[in-house]
Every structure is written in structure tokens, then in C-alpha cells.
């Protein structure tokens, strides 16, 4: 006997799984601090996933294991201070490695912000995304060296600073010329 599966067009037959399906950061109050989707989820599926997961994960006790089964996938989570870092991986992926990936990300954030806290990630959420983009692409790990990632991020931050300075000096010149 076999299962028969019917799903909506485009969502299953055409979608492909990647190693990490999504990453999300949820605060202890259940507020979303960062989400990144590597597999295709509609807006509805996204908010549903976050809602369900925060319900499950936030209610788990401190001594339990860091994995929960969720819709044929596994969600690996780890709590750092007030934030839960969650990674959704496929059934056959290495959960222990996913924990290392989380820790890797946290260490890079820590180095960048200087002992990172939730507020840093709220006000500089875009920077957290930039860092994540240097760590993961297409749901796969990109770089295992924290130093390399830090170097790449600061090089790009510099580019932005230079552009800002140019723009402000330009507007000063214009302002002086039109005085």
C-alpha cells in the first residue's frame, strides 16, 4: 500500500529542499527578530510556521534536547540569553552540526557587536542579515572562519562609509557653491 499525495501545484512538485530550510530568531516573548527563508514558503506558511514553532519551542524546559520534530523536518534551536536561535533542517541532516552552525553565527555576531544583546539585533537588524548572508547562502554553510567573515563585513561597511562621506562632502560643496 502506498501513500497518495496531493498538494497544490508549484508548492511541492516544483520545490526543492535545501539543507537549511529557514533560520529564525525568536525572543522569549515570542517576537520575531530575524527570519531568513531558503526554501519557498508563502507568507501565510511563514507566519504559521513561526507561530507554531514559537509555541513549541518557548514552552520546552531548559534541560531537554535542542531538537523538535516539525512537519517532517527537524528544528534545532538554542537559547542565548533572551533569544532563541532556530534552524529548520531536513530529516536526514546532522542536528549536532546545526547546533555548531548556530553557535558559529552567535560568535560572529558577538565579535561584530561586541558582546551582542537583543537590542543590538533589533536596532541593527539589517547588519545581522548581512552577517548571516556571509555565513549561509542557499541554506548551505559558506565560511567556517570567523575572521574571514569579520573581514568581509568590515570591508563592505567601509565601502558604505566612504560613499556616505563622499555624498556629504558633495552636498557641502553644493551648499557652499549655492550660498
Amino acid at each position: 500500500m502506498h501513500y497518495t499525495v496531493c498538494k497544490e501545484l508549484n508548492s511541492v512538485i516544483l520545490s526543492v529542499s535545501s539543507q537549511i530550510n529557514f533560520v529564525c530568531l525568536i525572543s522569549r516573548q515570542g517576537k520575531v527578530r530575524l527570519t531568513k527563508w531558503y526554501s519557498t514558503y508563502s507568507q501565510k506558511e511563514r507566519s504559521k510556521a513561526i507561530r507554531e514553532l514559537s509555541g513549541v519551542i518557548l514552552s520546552r524546559g531548559p534541560k531537554l534536547c535542542n531538537f523538535v520534530d516539525w512537519k517532517g523536518h527537524k528544528v534545532v534551536y538554542k537559547r542565548y540569553a533572551s533569544l532563541y536561535f532556530c534552524i529548520c533542517i531536513d530529516e536526514e541532516d546532522n542536528e549536532l552540526e546545526a547546533l555548531e552552525v548556530i553557535h558559529h553565527f552567535v560568535e560572529i555576531l558577538d565579535r561584530y557587536f561586541g558582546s551582542v544583546c537583543e537590542l543590538d539585533l533589533i536596532f541593527n537588524f539589517h547588519k545581522a542579515y548581512y552577517i548571516l548572508d556571509e555565513l549561509l547562502i542557499a541554506g548551505e554553510l559558506q565560511e567556517s572562519s570567523k575572521r574571514t567573515i569579520a573581514k568581509l563585513i568590515s570591508a563592505q561597511d567601509n565601502l558604505v562609509e566612504v560613499a556616505k562621506e563622499e555624498a556629504s562632502s558633495l552636498s557641502n560643496i553644493i551648499a557652499q557653491a549655492t550660498k
Binding site: T4, I13, R33, L64, C65, A138, S145
Partner: protein, 864 residues
Amino acid sequence: MNPFSSGTRLRDMIRAIRACKTAAEERAVVRKECAAIRAAINENDQDYRHRNLAKLMFIHMLGYPTHFGQMECLKLIASPGFPEKRIGYLGLMLLLDERQEVLMLVTNSVKQDLNHTNQYIVGLALCALGNICSAEMARDLAPEVERLLQFRDPNIRKKAALCSIRIIKKVPDLAENFINPVAALLKEKHHGVLITGVQLCTDLCKVSPEALEYFRKKCTDGLVRTLRDLVNSPYAPEYDIAGITDPFLHIRLLKLLRVLGRGDADASDSMNDILAQVATKTESNKNAGNAILYECVETIMSIEDNGGLRVLAINILGRFLSNRDNNIRYVALNMLMRAITVDAQAVQRHRATILECVKDSDASIRKRALELVYLLVNESNVKPLTKELVDYLEVSDQDFKGDLTAKVCSIIEKFSPEKSWYIDQMLKVLTEAGNFVKDEVWHALVVVISNASDLHGYTVRALFRALQTTAEQESLVRVAVWCIGEYGDLLVSNAGMLNVEDPITVTESDAVDIVESAIKRHASDLTTKSMALIALLKLSSRFPSCSRRIKDIVVQHKGSLVLELQQRSLEFNSIIEKHQNIRSALVERMPVLDEATFGGRRASSLPNTVSTSSGTAVKLPNGVAKPSAAPLVDLLDLSDDVPAPSSSGGDFLQDLLGVNLPPATQSEGTNQTPKAGTDVLLDLLSIGSTPAQDNNLSTPDILSSGQDNKPIIASLDVLAAPSNMMDLLDGLGPAPPKPAENGPAYPSIVAFESSSLRLTFNFSKQPGNPQTTMISGSFTNLSSNLFTDFVFQAAVPKFLQLHLDPASGNSLPASGNGTITQSLKVTNSQHGKKPLVMRLRIAYKVDGKDVLEEGQINNFPRDL
């Protein structure tokens, strides 16, 4: 930027939102900001475009709609500066996904950026492409990405490698273009490039057999060397985690070796030494080391057999299992589940520990352990394992009981060595967790009890005892009530006493008491109460002394607000009062229920029970093979398989006892459970054949007038003048429903045909429901090989709703010597406006090789 800018800064907006005390306040702030951003977009404001987009991203994260900002991302990406592009690409990845058509508009900008002179801009474009590109974009931009695999800066090469993974997953045809450039990446020293290159290589092997063959030949030795160098490398602070150099690279290399070694003895052989070294030398006191060991064990289990290595791997799992860390125990259970197919004996050794894990306080571990225990059960250990699980049922968490009960029941049914054990265990489960027992399970129990004639007395006494101690479990009550109704005389007479039993004294009125309490119980539902009424009717004949009292109980329900109970009690009352002469014949003990028929029907209504194709095509007593997956016939057969116990009066009384539960209005196939429920109820109650009633269920239009408006008086009239009713039944019963009554006929189509397979569709409609089409598909094998593991999947666009019934089987004999049938139900919400359309995928195995066929059906008859 302009120092005299208006509007709030990003930081101020975030502060304002955080300061909100209520959701309404927050909505107001967001609304105001969104209005300002929209205005800025309309004015085509350039200076604040990137700030506005950053705000929109924050608003998006809070869950508000931000689609109006999508075009802003495109504009920012198209602008020349790095800061604008950086935020633009971030917005693109956050606000859009691959399904939005806006995404196509960005293809050109991405292409330009991939060729940009600034490598950071190239990096941004690669990252965005890798995260959200669609199949079309993948096709358009693959040459650019392929070229970037050789870019001078390693940081671009690694991004290009991961981007290629997305591309080949979206468009597997492109895989071969990447084989050569990837082989070069595997020789690199830069860890980032190596990690991503190995990952890309693994994914290439998954989508392309040629790639697998190529890498296996050319790269296995090189990869083994790389791993050996890594394992033996001196301390490298940049990559060190817990004393191990780059565990991420370790894991990826092991994963790729697994893919290369699987199914190839030579390749497996060449990696044995290094796997043994990793398995023995890796420190297991930190998570990183355990992650590597875990991956290594999986690789050892997957590649071709090497006895010594396997022992090593199983020992590592044994160590994991006794670890105090929950994470490690979880992964151990997980891996043992996969190891069981390789070495079941070795896993059995850890049975006791695994059983302990079923009782863990951690739900994730419990769930894994239970699944594993389920796989470990066999004929020799079923008794002790079941005892442990049933004992645990008593103390387990409420939210775990459902899972646990289902598994325990499944184990008991699958492995029961003898009937008495089966009945004993099921009674224990019913007593502990009857509310979690599924309908099919207790139906099966009733069938088994009915077949075990030497255990009738024992069972009914045990149930009586159980019901005396607890009446909280619905399905326990039902089974008990049914048995007391059937075998009440054995309960009182203590007949068929087994050695193990303690004698009990039950008077006739005790038996009636307990059934009465079931009917009076507040929590009992309609099914339970109906069953209790029938049991009472039966007892009224078995225990003449209680007849008077039973009549009083029955009469109390004449005023019931539930039509079913009201009708039943009126009818039963009339039997007790007016039809003394036929009563005893009428309420004789049920004939033995046919196990095979029940099993077959159950298999066809339960998609997840294992059965073969013969399971559904059960031979009926009259020798006609039942064509499966035809719901009408399925319904009719259940009336045939129960012979009439009594000839007198049976013809009209069948309707009397028949269950006219709501399913008459339900269409077939939408919901299997209620159908199964009524089936068995019909079986339990059936006296004589009831074709007319079955027509009720499947073709409601025939009897709809008679049924919906049938007042109680009418049925009493019928009682008085049975001939009327019989006429009515004669007219309707034997005549098979004509297709014409099922709405207009549609021509059959060949929905799909390939060189090896043909699928034809027959259509029918239910009258009064033009939107829904019942399709019966039949598959024919045109090749000369047997197809096994046959799976049919279908997908439809959103305006259609598709429901697939289970197929009649999963193997398809060669050369058209048999068919698989499967029924589908499609509801077209755009009926009359859009025709049906369907995409299908058919997977099966020929000689153990997977074959996949796909197609689209556009030739449905119009106006379906």
C-alpha cells in the same frame, strides 16, 4: 545626506514601535509610517529610498504587508552605488520570494552586477541569486555563475559554488556544465572554497548519475587525502572548534564520501582506513566532536559493508545512547533507526535502553524512541515489549497517549501470537486509554472476539469487570456493551470458565444495570447510546425476568431529542411489546463476523496499513471478486457478507434496526472515517441484507424524499404493514444504480500514455453537485516488466480541489495483465469557467530501479 531631512529615522521608528503598549498603538504607528513611505514612493524620492526600504523590512518582520515596497528594491539594485545595492538586495531577499513575477524584472540588473568590477557587488548579486532565484533566472544566469567559479578572489568562488547548488536544484539539466569547474574546486586549500565545493559536488552527485560516476572515479582518493590531512592537521586557531580543526569541513567531506562510497565496493574500500581513524580518534567530550562521530557513523552504515567498521559504529551509538546529554541520546535513537535496516541484531542489543527512552521526560526523545521500539518488535519479543508499553500507558503524559496507543495497538494487531493474548492486551489498552483508540481498532477487536467462540464467556466477564472499575473510556464502553448484549447469558452463567479466571457472580439485573449506566452516562455519544439500546433489546430476550425493566429504560428514550435514539426506542419498544413471537429469533446472537472481509475493507479505508493488492479485492461469499475502489460496490458488499440469521420478519426489520445516521447526506470519499464507522455498525446490527439502505448512503437522490421527510409515524405504519415497505425495497434494492442517475455521462479519456504506461480516466458526477467530478483512474502496464512500488501523485491549480483515494495496489503486472485503479475526486470552484487541468507524477520500480514519469493532462472533457 541632506541634513534638513524630514521624516523619522529608522532608529526612531523602531523606538516608536517598541514604545507601543498595545497592538492597536503599534498598528497606528506602522500605518503612519507606511503612509509616509508610500507617499515617498509616489514622489519617487531618491534620497531616502534606502532608509524607507530598511523601515519596510522591519515592518515586514512584524508581519505587516509590504508588497508596495517591492519595486523600490529593484530601483535600489539598479542604482550605481554599493550602499544602495546592498540594502536593495537585502530587501529583495526579504520581501520577495521566487514565485513573485516582479523577480523576473531584476534578472538584468543581477546579470550586470555579476559582471561588475567591484567584487563586493558581485558578491551581493551571487548571494541574492543563491537565496531566491527561480528556475527561469537560474537558466538565464547559469553561464555567469559558472564563470565566477574561477574568479580570482576565493570569497567570490565560494559564493558562486553555493549559488550553483541552487541553480542545479532548480534546473537539474544544467548539472553537467558544473562538473569540470567543481573538480577544480575540490583541490583548493581555502576552507571556504573547499567547504562549498564539496557541498556542490555532493548535490551534483544527487541530481546526476554521470556526475556521481565521474567524481567517484576521479576524486575519491583526493578527498580521502584531504580528509586525512585535515584530521592530522596541527592546531589552526582560525578554524579550531573545541580542539578540532574545522568540524564543518570534516562533516562535509564525510557526507560526500558517503555518497561516493554507497553502492561501490572499491570506493568504499579506499575510504575504510580514514573512517576508522575518524571513528577512533575523534574526541567525544564536546558537541563538535560528536557531530563528526555522528556523521562518520552514518557514512560507515551507508557505504559497502566492512564488518569491523560496522561494529565500531554500533559501539559509538551504544555510547551515545548511554550519554547523559539529551541531544546525544536523541541523535543515537535517530541513527539506530537507520541502522536497523543494516544490522537489526546489533540494534536489538540496546532494546532495554531504548525502552527506557520511551519513558523519558523529553517529548522529542520519547517520540523517537517509540518509533524505534515499533521497528524492533518481532514475534519473539512482542510479549515483554508490549507489557512494558502497556504498563507505561498508565502513567504517560496525556499528549503522548495518542501516539503511544496507536503504536501499541498496531503492535498487538500485527504480532499477536494467539487470540487470547490479543484480547487481553486490547482490553488493557481500552481500560487505560480507550479514548485514544481509533474506531478501526475496536471494530477489529469486536470482529476477533466474535470469531473466538471459546473465549466469548471469558471476554464478556473481563469486560464487565473492566467496566465496573472505569467507565471513562468511550471505546471500552462500546466494546463491553456490545459483548454484554451478545453474550450476556455467558456472563451470568459463568460458562466457558478458563483456568486463569476468578469466578464472579453477576446477576441478570447487574448486567442490565451496567448497560443502563452506559446509556445514562452523560459523556456517552450517540454511537455508544445506540449500541447500548441494542444491547438492551438483546438482553430483553436473553433475560426474560428483566424484560419489563428493559422496556422501561427503552421507553425513557422515546422522548429523546436525538432522532436516532427516539426512533430506535420507539421501534424496540414495539418489538418488546407486540412482537414477542419473533423477538427471540430477531435478537439471536450475531453470526460470526468475517475477518477477511473486514480486513479487506479496513485496508481499503486506511491508507497507512500495509496490504497487498489482493487485500482489497476480497472474494465475497458468493464468489464474486469485489472490484476495489468502487465505493458503491464496497458499500453493497457489506450487506451481502452477513447472512440473515432469521428468515421471519427479517425483511422489514432490517430497516428497523438499520442505522440511518447522518452519512446519508455525505458524499462518498470525502471522509473515510465516518464511513468505516457506519460500516461496522451496520455489520454489528445487520440482520438480513440491506441493499436499499446502502443505496441510501451512496445515491441519496433515490430515497431522498422518503428519507428526509420520513416521520416516525411512517415507520410505525410500515411496521404495521410490512408489505408496503417491502414493496418499496423490492423496487429499489436489487436494481443497481444506473450511470444515468449519476448525472450526465462523460466520455472516458486516455489521460496519460507513455511507452510503458497508460492511464485512463472515467468520469461521473454526483447529481446536484456539478462542481465535483468523480474520476476513476485505471493504470495499465504496456511494458513487459513488472512495476513495483507504484505511486501515483497528482497536483492541481488552486481553483481545483483534489482528493485522492488509496489505490487498489502498488504493483502492476506486465503487458496489461491487470490494472491498478484509483479514484479521485476533483472539485472545480470555477465550474463552467475553467476546464479541469492536472499535473501528474508516477513513480515506480522496474527491477529495483526507480522510474519517474511526469505529465500534464489537458484533454479533460469540457464543462467538468
